[in-house]
Symmetry: C2
Subunit: 295 residues, 2 copies
């Protein structure tokens, strides 16, 4: 039976550190500011944005949410980003994804000033992370996974890591972070995906297994090395009439059966999710320090 | 006994395609132009620069080599790059690495206009490659390895690939290219390195094995799965008094013993090396097309 990794508690610990950093900056006259842009009515996006705003409030980061209609044009959204790029009180800019279909997502991400790219999705951030630049913004979910491992005594150094899922926001950047010659890295990483033959055998090689494929309960016990540390990045809604909302959240891991053989496992919710928001806050602090030159 | 992969022949094939593309562009009034900046007296760098200039000449790309002294300052080199960035007849800029110690290499790479970054080392190029942007410049050596595999009937799709060496110019970007959901990708890649425990066992998992660790004859037969395709990216000088130059070139693979058990292997020299230069030329064509809008 696995130890349950308490992402909520660790995220709260990080938020405490962020609050202290905010207080120190405030004493020097700097109030870190985050602007979140929400386009359209996607209900999950609205929930995430509310959670981010709340976390900012708790830690003293000044946040604003700019809500734009579902019919927003490319030019209108670009104009908002240009204004935020130029606004000296804004240190971090986050455009909540996904965007409506009439918007060219990559062009929007590319338009954010790289020094304010707290989501870490701009090619400059991704490229700098990839070449091992420690000052790069690490995108929040992969950074949260690394932090979760390090703060639970599961340093990936010298371990084998199997990741399933090669997305731009989790699998690919995480494979680089865990491989690199730096603190939180030095693992031997295998990046597996939907086209990997005999996937269970490949995943069983991992002393640490990361599931980030976006399929409910995809990783069964047969894919887990006994004693492995299992990190579940997935957040999937599955219909469940027995709940008030009509759905429940499950991860990419078949929790109950994997719980029996892993040495540690993250729950969904309450595992990686809270870490993602906590790491976003640390990126905001980093942006405020770098832009103002106050540390 | 392995089939020897003839990188020279395949590179010549690609140069032929480049020449045709140059002729087509020339008919439309565009002459692709590459500027190579060589700082100092590193003899290996001088050789590489000569080879690149020669390949340009053969294919009709207009090249110039700007030689600067070993004592060049950061500001002097930056001024040259700024001039080349602004020069409309220059479509590709390549600063030969390594640079003398007084120069901050990353700042120089960052200063090259991303649309002229034919080496693919700028964070924007690396970031765009990483997120699967097909229009990104792929750095020449990783792109050359992918091309070599594809043109010898060794499509990595569905295969396991083991890479040893996690450098910014080979191991890390190659692991991404081979993993991605695109032509030349879809492999399951493990990125191994100096901190990987039981390295031979990990490398033996590879249907395709890529050695890019920069240590002469590092990969022995015990690290090779029988029947694997072995790609040797290493180019190391080892002392050899029996030769005229006093040294000979060897790869990162113990060629003679691995030759016995691999199904295919690249020689050093004559394997990946010529491919690197060929891919640089294709990047120059791409740059000229994108900058001029003529295709």
């Amino acid at each position: 039976m696995a130890e349950v990794i308490d992402g909520k508690r660790i995220a709260a610990e990080i938020r405490g550190e962020v609050k202290q950093a905010v207080d120190e900056l405030a004493a020097k006259g700097v109030v870190p500011g985050l602007s979140v842009v929400l386009v359209g009515e996607n209900p999950a996006s609205a929930v995430y944005v509310r959670m981010k705003a709340k976390a900012c409030e708790e830690t003293g980061i000044k946040s604003e949410v700019i809500k734009m209609s579902e019919e927003t044009t490319q030019a209108e959204l670009e104009a908002v980003i240009d204004r935020l790029n130029a606004d000296e009180s804004v240190h971090g800019i986050l455009v909540q994804l996904p965007l409506p279909p009439q918007i060219e997502e990559q062009d929007i991400i590319f338009r954010i000033a790289p020094e304010k790219d707290v989501d870490g999705f701009h090619p400059v951030s991704v490229g700098r992370m990839m070449i091992g630049d420690l000052t790069a913004f690490r995108s929040a979910t992969p950074a949260g996974v690394v932090e979760l491992l390090m703060r639970t005594g599961n340093d990936p150094s010298g371990k084998r890591v199997a990741i399933v899922g090669r997305s731009n926001i989790v699998g690919k950047p995480l494979s680089v972070l865990l491989s690199q010659k730096m603190k939180g890295g030095n693992a031997t990483v295998t990046l597996a995906h939907s086209r990997t033959p005999d996937l269970p055998a490949v995943l069983r090689e991992g002393d640490i297994l990361v599931a980030a494929i976006g399929v409910p309960e995809f990783v069964k016990a047969e894919s887990v090395k006994p004693g492995a540390v299992v990190i579940d990045v997935g957040v999937n809604r599955v219909d469940d009439d027995s709940t008030e909302k009509g759905y429940r959240l499950v991860g990419d891991v078949a929790y109950d059966e994997v719980f029996e053989i892993a040495s540690a496992i993250t729950p969904v919710p309450g595992g990686v999710g809270p870490m993602t928001i906590a790491m976003l806050l640390t990126n905001c602090i980093q942006a405020a320090r770098e832009i103002t030159g106050v540390s």
